[in-house]
């Protein structure tokens, strides 16, 4: 870790934020923020010397003096394009602030609470206190510490015991163009009680042009016993955006949770997914797709913790990288001593479409139990020339054939998404995105050369 640059600026921002923060009269929340800020000041931003950040250099974030994003009002017409039809509820945040007029909360089903976190802290602090900050680790991750220090607004979702929410709850985070470099620290709390069922989509997007924005989000998702929960993350901001997001999942006994991540946009993106399987018989699916081009840097850091016996986790991440894009997949699996009969699986597949695209893929298994099954594998390859020729030989143009092959590769991930509404939304975004990926166009040089490196290990 490095000394914090612009420490004065951070201190000023923190002091300013504290003055208007939600629940500033609540001692527990005040302490949570103060401790987190102290921790951040102690550690500073990580550097590539830290093992967890070896492949991702965040100095561009560290050396920028960010200001809080401004309060901006958007008309409903400005955000019409971003809607997801058939959501159970929609919460819209503009520059980190909840916008009641853009949100849609009229049809929230019975037994379900959907609100802004800020509002909920004011109205029902005791509910929030039970969970907020109890899972996300400010000690290990400076970005989590920073987010916690600046807890302001975000989504609060609570699903009561046994309640099944059919349609997903849609959370949209929009950033606008500003003069200065700005930041937001969205904080979400999703609590699904025993035997409940819920799906939440977090969607990060930009409106009205590009400026340097830094979105540092933390979501705590608590799934009770036998609860079924799905979380979707979509990053599609412009290329000047820094986006760090951390999903911390706490799973109870026999809970079945899925995390789906789709990284399309953002210049420097870090996607942390940290499920803890804390109750027996839990299942976790960790599924992701990242499509990088230009000079995008897309880092996926998985930290799957098996803390109870008889749990299963499956990780599937597919990456397509073009231009000078750099992708990272870090798959850490920790099996605690108590977690016998763990069945953990990890697969990372990558397509590199250009000579300059790069992927770092790294499994990291820490197993302290003796009766477990952990497998991991990674592949790095290019569009297969045989497959391309086969499609062309039937009359399909090279361009179309490439597109079909890329979509098929992306679909492996998209098809794992259980919610029809979420999958439909993501399928549209991915297809649109692939249409504009430069690697679809024929490139001499890379076409005939097929490099396939396969690493398969069972440990």
């Amino acid at each position: 870790m490095a000394a914090v640059a612009h420490i004065d600026s951070w201190l000023e921002n923190f002091t300013e934020a504290e003055k208007s923060a939600a629940g500033r009269s609540l001692p527990w929340l005040h302490r949570l923020r103060e401790d987190a800020f102290a921790r951040f000041c102690e550690t500073g931003f990580p550097t590539t010397k830290d093992e967890d950040w070896r492949f991702t250099n965040v100095s561009a974030i560290a050396r920028t003096a960010f200001r809080p994003a401004s309060a901006v009002r958007l008309a409903p017409g400005d955000t019409a394009a971003w809607r997801v039809d058939d959501a159970a509820a929609t919460l819209v945040f503009v520059n980190g602030r909840f916008s009641a007029e853009l949100s849609e909360l009229d049809f929230v089903p019975k037994g379900v609470t959907v609100a802004s976190l800020r509002g909920r802290i004011e109205s029902h602090p005791e509910e929030v206190e039970k969970h907020l900050g109890r899972y996300a680790d400010t000690q290990r991750d400076p970005f989590v510490a920073l987010n916690t220090a600046f807890i302001g607004d975000g989504a609060y979702v609570h699903v009561a015991r046994g309640v099944v929410v059919e349609a997903p709850i849609y959370l949209l985070y929009l950033s606008t163009k500003e003069e200065a470099a700005t930041m937001t620290h969205p904080r979400n709390l999703i609590v699904a009680d025993d035997e409940a069922q819920v799906a939440v989509i977090e969607d990060y997007a930009s409106v009205g042009g590009e400026s340097v924005v830094f979105s540092n989000a933390v979501t705590e998702l608590v799934a009770g016993e036998s609860t079924v929960a799905q979380h979707y993350l979509i990053e599609r901001e412009h290329l000047k955006a820094f986006n760090v997001s951390t999903l911390r999942i706490e799973q109870g006994r026999s809970a079945n949770v899925a995390s789906h991540s789709v990284l399309l946009g953002g210049g420097l993106v870090r996607n942390n997914v940290h499920p803890v399987l804390a109750g027996e018989g839990g299942e976790c699916l960790i599924n992701g797709l990242f499509l990088g081009t230009g000079s995008q840097h897309l880092d996926n850091y998985m930290h799957v913790e098996h803390a109870a016996p008889h749990c299963g986790s499956r990780q599937f991440y597919n990456g397509i990288l073009d231009g000078q894009a750099h992708g990272v997949f870090h798959g850490r699996i920790v099996v605690h001593k108590i977690a016998q009969k763990t069945d953990a699986k990890q697969t990372n597949r990558n397509l590199l479409l250009s000579d300059d695209a790069q992927i770092d893929t790294k499994p990291q298994l820490e197993i302290y139990a003796d009766d477990v099954k952990c497998t991991h594998g990674a592949t790095i390859g290019q569009i297969e020339e045989n497959a391309l020729f086969y499609l062309q030989s039937r009359g399909i143009s090279e361009m179309e054939a490439r597109k079909l092959l890329l979509m098929a590769f992306a679909d492996e991930c998209v098809e794992r998404m259980q919610s029809d509404v979420a999958r439909g939304h993501i399928e549209r975004l991915v297809n649109e995105h692939l249409l504009f990926t430069e690697g679809i166009a024929p490139q001499s040089g890379t076409l005939g050369r097929v490099v396939e490196r396969k690493l398969e290990e069972v440990g």
Partner: protein
Amino acid sequence: MSLLEIRNLHVSVGGNEILKGIDLTVNAGEVHSIMGPNGSGKSTLAQVLARRDAYQVTEGSILFEGKNLLEMKPEEAACEGLFLAFQYPVEIPGIGNTYFLRSALNAQRKHRGQDEMDAMDFLPMFREKLKLLEMDDKLMNRSLNEGFSGGEKKRNEILQMAVLEPKLAILDETDSGLDIDALRIVAQGVNSLRSPERAMVVVTHYQRLLNYIVPDFVHVLVDGRIVRSGGKELALELEEKGYSWTEHEPVGARA
């Protein structure tokens, strides 16, 4: 004008000359068989015709309906009516069989200035062809060739041919690895497509397939050259006497 005219074709792969001056004329309505030992250049000829770019044509010409085939990309050759049944059909996960075949057919129809076929028109026609190849339509909901047995893959090739209705079909060792039942079904599918407008080039190592698909002409390819041409009786003679009978060099002299 002949459908296919190959003149003095020389082809190299990575500096090795594989085809050393092939001459072959195929007219509409004809079925030609190209036989030869392993490594004689049969598959190279098939792949060059389908316009695979890994092969360098160093000399000679190929005209397809009078047009220069060597200037065409694989998809253009396909749209002009050339079809290759692959010796090793490729498995492509994530692309559905039916979707793929309809996309291919529509790409070809578009090229010919015809309207694209929607699912309503496509499916009845498709079901007919499936019946012809005695294929389970459940296979069609799966990814292209994925998890297909060897026989299913070969039948899928002929199914594609039946749907795309090419002018010239090249069957590259479609018989290899097939049991007798599968062979009969494949041959039946091929025979049903024989017509005065359509020509076929059947590339095979064994005479077996030719019991079912009776050729008009048989050519023997040895070491990159056609060393003998004749009628269907040539295939029987080969079966009896072996390839060494036609060769100036011993069998398997080159890979």
